[in-house]
Amino acid sequence: MATKKFMYLNRKASYGTVYAIESLEVVLIAAAFEQDVSLAFIDDGVYQIVEGQNTDGIGMKNFSKTFHALGDYDINKLYVSAESLEERGLTADDLMPLVYEDEDDDWEEKPSVKVVSNAELSKIMSDQDVCLSF
């Protein structure tokens, strides 16, 4: 089967609507198809990977831990909009330390998250074959 570049564009916060969790479900299925997968977090989507989420008070499943599994599925290109972080008073330090093991570099643990400007992100997006927005 042909390999295409798939980007999953996450634009919504985790719990107010269903888009975030159902996007993650697609990403996990996509991993089985051996495509080139990347994720982008823009607008309120940046909240999806903020460290220290706690859903005890709202009776909903805290699915943020699932993002830690992405590295094991060879999904290690997570782009975060610098502008979206800044607009929300967040910095890269507020995000979960998501990592993957680089098989081409003696399985060294490397960060999966990369904060990029919107201009860089738009370049990365225009390089994709399929862009699914959630």
């Binding site: 888009y19 697609v26 299925i29 198809f33 399929v130 699914l132």
Partner: protein, 133 residues
């Protein structure tokens, strides 16, 4: 050109399904192929055969059914995500019996399947067009 479509919103609440339908109809009329329409999130509600709009309004579900998007084997290519459908009370006969639920509501022009069908549509099609918020 070979198109696939993803619909992320339910009927009537949101224009996404209507716009996608107009897009699909226009694409077919212009000689393009619709490989698959994939219904996700609340978009799964577009497949309910119990949809009964007032007589002076369009029937969003039947509109899709009348487009008759099928593959070479004659199976519908209006595909409803199984996980999204089950958690919203959308079941076909097989899922109903598997889950011990009486009755089923998926229109026969649609079929339930997995998210892999969305990824496959992205791989097989020249363009995957997403409709929703």
């Amino acid at each position: 050109m070979k198109f696939s479509i993803q619909i992320n919103e339910g009927p009537y609440q949101h224009q996404a399904s209507d716009t996608a339908y107009q897009f699909a109809k226009a694409a077919i009329a212009a000689g393009h192929e619709i490989f698959r329409v994939f219904f996700y999130h609340d978009g799964v509600n577009n497949a309910s055969r119990f949809t009964v709009p007032p007589q002076d309004d369009r029937n969003v579900v039947n509109q899709w059914a009348e487009l008759g998007i099928k593959n070479a084997e004659g199976e519908p290519e209006l595909v409803v995500c199984v996980a999204a459908a089950l958690r919203r009370g959308m079941l076909d006969e097989s899922e109903a019996s598997k889950n011990g639920v009486e009755g089923n509501n998926i229109h026969p022009a649609f079929r339930i399947s997995g998210l892999g069908q969305l990824i496959e549509a992205g791989i097989q099609s020249d363009r995957l067009v997403v409709f929703g918020d």
